[in-house]
């Protein structure tokens, strides 16, 4: 079920009301059933895959804990769990990609190895489930989390519907205890949750889906476009991706909040980051903190890798690229992002010294504006690989970036229509929406997470709420567009 679909309008209030009406001991069951219904709305048979994944890690968690209590080495169970999760992920997500590449390599050496293609549709959110499940087993192995012996509650930990298909990738010590607590009907919390959901929905249906019209058009048929079109498409894609994914996360966090569950924030205004490293601490926080805790830190502690901190950073981003999808474009994106971060870390002292010598203060407005813009531009550039359908398309875009710029006078209206087939109204609405988004994020950044208008007079708040809803009614795009991150 999509958050931006009519069934969800009925599903969510119904589940929430039932959740508060049902006695606490049975709430897990209600949520588990609701999560199953939510998931079966996509491809029902994949519920089986999800249950296999849950069963494996449920038992591995228990066996790891039992072994540790008996003083026996539990590493084998951890390995079984990691291998099983990675195998499932590999089978559904990477098998075809691997087969095709193996075939190409064989062809290079003059061998005949036809690619084996399964053509399977990836179970929605598989990468998220596997990572969430793995984090539980690793935490149990590290002794920071007790094994969950209640199968239903463990299944709910993996399947909790607000974060079932695209995260945030929760940690067991944050989410599991909450399923045993009694959540009450708290006016302020529910109200804040609903506002967050509304804002997330606005970002998705009004901004992201609108911008997607142009972005999809350009990236599906790159051969027909040139530099200016790619620049416009990349600019819009940066905001589309942000609104799509952060919109999803706001709905997920908001809907969990309404029921009394606290999920981690996945975004912290990344487009105001002053460096690439800060950017990646504010973008998809749950994934990058997962990679930091379970890939980067263990690598830094490893006897062979501990001397290669920057290589480890690079590896972490490379893995994040592969996590996003089975394609060389994602590998290239991960590598480029890793390179940015390593370069940022390597030149930080030099840049600081230079600023000191020149006499530019860290809080200088123009310096901040330059840093924020540069970070944004670097992200847009890396997005070429993230969004392009193939590596050939990426190279084509890179080659075409300097080409096709208008000479002399320039008419925006003609440009919109002749290059994109869209009218200028579409452009002006889109640009204005991006400005509204940046403005609200800028205001919201200074608050402690509560909606920006919370303390304003009642008429201001209600104007904002009504504006938001009217915006969704009149400007929303309703074509049942999936969230971008569902494919991962």
């Amino acid at each position: 079920m999509l958050f931006n679909s009519v069934p969800f309008i009925f599903f969510f209030p119904l589940v929430t009301i039932l959740f508060f009406v049902v006695p606490q001991p049975y709430r897990w069951f209600l949520l588990l059933m609701a999560s199953c219904i939510f998931y079966t709305w996509f491809i029902p048979v994949y519920l089986v895959v999800l249950f296999v994944l849950i069963l494996i890690d449920y038992w591995m968690g228990i066996w790891i804990e039992d072994s540790m209590l008996k003083g026996v080495d539990a590493r084998k169970y951890l390995i079984v769990s990691i291998v099983s999760m990675c195998s499932i992920l590999f089978f559904f997500k990477y098998f075809d990609f691997f087969g095709a590449n193996l075939s190409s390599i064989a062809g290079f050496f003059g061998l005949n190895y036809p690619p084996k293609v399964l053509g399977l549709i990836i179970p929605i959110g598989l990468s998220f489930h596997t990572f969430q499940s793995l984090s539980y087993v690793i935490e149990v192995y590290k002794g920071r989390q007790k094994a969950e012996r209640h199968f239903g509650i463990y299944a709910l930990y993996v399947m909790f519907y607000p974060q079932l298909v695209a995260g945030p990738i929760e940690r067991p010590y944050n989410l599991l205890p909450q399923f045993r607590e009694k959540q009450s009907v708290d006016y302020q919390r529910i109200s804040d949750g609903l506002k967050l959901m509304a804002w997330g929905m606005f970002k998705k249906v009004v901004i992201a889906d609108r911008l997607a019209v142009l972005v999809d058009q350009v990236f599906r048929d790159v051969g027909s476009y040139h530099g200016p079109e790619f620049v416009v498409a990349l600019f819009f894609f940066a905001f589309q991706l942000y609104c799509d994914f952060s919109g999803y996360c706001d709905i997920a966090v908001g809907s969990a909040k309404v029921m009394g569950f606290k999920l981690m924030d996945n975004f912290r205004y990344p487009y105001f980051s002053r460096s690439v490293r800060k950017f990646w601490r504010c973008w998809h926080i749950s994934l990058f903190s997962w990679l930091r805790d379970y890939v980067f830190i263990p690598l830094c502690r490893h006897r062979y890798f501990k001397h290669f901190r920057r290589v480890n950073i690079f590896l972490m981003f490379l893995i994040s690229g592969v996590w996003h999808g089975a394609g060389w474009t994602y590998v290239a994106w991960g590598a480029l992002t890793g390179f940015y971060v390593v370069l940022d870390a390597a030149t930080e002292d030099f840049r600081k010294n230079m600023r000191r010598i020149v006499g530019i203060k860290e809080e200088n407005f123009f310096l901040k504006a330059w840093q924020v813009s540069a970070t944004f531009l670097l992200f847009c550039f890396s997005a070429i690989f993230f969004r392009a359908e193939t590596m050939q398309d990426s190279w084509f875009i890179l080659r075409q970036l300097p080409a096709g710029w208008p000479q002399g006078s320039f008419n925006v209206s003609d440009f919109c229509y002749a290059r994109f087939g869209l009218d200028v109204t579409w452009f002006s609405i889109s640009i204005n929406l991006v400005i509204v988004l940046v403005f609200i994020d800028l205001l919201q950044r200074g608050t402690s997470g509560r909606p920006v208008f919370s303390n304003d007079p009642v008429w201001v708040r209600w104007s904002y709420y009504y504006g938001l809803v009217l915006g969704m009614i009149f400007l929303g795009h309703y074509g049942q567009n999936q969230f971008v991150y569902f494919q991962f």
Partner: protein, 375 residues
């Protein structure tokens, strides 16, 4: 028993009441959406059979049956017009044409003795074809000949906002007579009839329809008025589709169409096979009833055709060449006549011969194209 005691305390009940009151403040917006959807109802989901005969569509159909020419000014539900045309005809036509707006030029050749009725519908899908035939069966007789436009779009599910509730019901009846279970068929979201009342996309469509028709007569009867580019059910030219659009727009629409259609990103082999099976059974059903069938393919705009080829090479899902090949096999299997091709180069057609990505300009109908469209 303690644990199972009622979970909501009085303070919680108070909070819930407060929340409910605040939520009620949004009810006017919800009522606005539901009210507009119900009142404007652009595809006739909530129209009752009784008041259909007060509709613009009914009046237009009556004018057409009376042999008058009608210029359509506001957006109407063309499916309803066709329904009334079928109901109101005194004689069953010899030949009917089933297809999307791309089929509107078919049958528009020089006058002949054959009584032709062109049932081209905007955005028609296979289920629309079934709906029309079902309505003829209700009338008691099928036409002797039929032309079926085979287009990629006809394999879409029956949930587009252009579809019509009555057509869906009629199509379901015919499917039952053909011995096909509707279980699992992509009959679409219209089955969620009452969910649709709060649909925001339906609301936007309603507002658009209302805005277009505001303060204007829905249609006018004209004497010698011949609008250059569009034909209506009786084969006369009635609507102008408007200006020639840019290649960029054609390409955008082609790719958008590709992505949102059954052949698109969420391409479902199962769905396509299902609908092809229905099409084959439909043809078989008509052949059993001695209806002479011609399959017809209409060329696409060169840019759109090239876009289809790019998609084919790039994603391999939707293959325009395979579809054309399938049509040939279908014609061979049922011993049907097949005319036309999707490839504009076959007819030497250029960009300027099209109004948009899919529709030919009447001025561009050279001799080979006329072969496709005249009967």
């Amino acid at each position: 028993m303690d644990k199972i005691s009622l979970c909501i305390s009085s303070s919680e009940r108070q909070a819930a009441r407060r929340l409910l009151l605040k939520m009620l403040a949004f009810m006017p917006l919800l009522c606005l959406v539901a009210g507009v959807n119900f009142r404007v109802d652009p595809i006739g989901i909530y129209k009752k059979a009784g008041n259909k005969y007060d509709s613009t569509e009914y009046r237009i159909a009556q004018e057409l049956i009376a042999g008058k020419r009608v210029e359509i000014i506001q957006k109407i539900d063309d499916r309803h017009v066709h329904q009334f045309l079928i109901e109101g005809q005194s004689r069953i036509p010899d030949l009917i044409i089933l297809g999307s707006s791309r089929a509107m030029d078919i049958g528009g050749g020089p006058p002949s003795k054959t009584r032709i009725m062109n049932h081209a519908l905007m955005g028609a899908v296979l289920m629309d074809y079934l709906g029309i035939v079902s309505q003829y069966e209700k009338k008691g007789q099928l036409p002797k000949s039929m032309v079926l436009l085979i287009d990629p779009g006809m394999f879409e599910s029956f949930d587009g906002m252009e579809q019509n509730w009555d057509f869906k019901m009629d199509a379901q009846e015919l499917l039952a007579r053909m011995g096909i279970s509707i279980r699992g068929l992509p009959m679409g979201a219209l089955s969620d009839r009452w969910l649709n009342i709060v649909s925001l996309s339906y609301f936007q469509k309603s507002i658009k329809t209302w805005h277009q028709s505001r303060g204007r007569d829905p249609y006018k009867v004209v004497e010698d008025y011949v609008v250059p580019d569009m034909l209506w059910p009786d084969g006369r030219r009635l609507i102008d589709m408007g200006e020639l659009v840019s290649s960029a727009k054609i390409r955008r629409i082609a790719f958008q169409h590709y992505y949102t259609s059954v052949f698109g990103r969420h391409y479902s082999v199962v769905r396509e096979q299902q609908l092809k099976r229905v099409l084959e059974r439909f043809i078989e059903y008509l052949v059993e009833r001695h209806v002479e069938i011609t399959l017809c393919l209409v060329p696409f705009h060169p840019v759109e055709y090239r876009a289809f080829l790019v998609m084919r090479e790039k994603w391999g899902a939707f293959d325009i060449l395979k579809l054309e090949d399938y049509c040939h096999r279908l014609a061979e299997k049922f011993d049907l006549k097949l005319t036309g091709s999707y490839d504009p180069a076959v007819y030497g057609l250029k960009n300027e011969d099209f109004r948009d990505g899919e529709h030919l300009r009447s001025s561009a109908q050279n001799a080979p194209v006329k072969k496709i469209i005249s009967f």
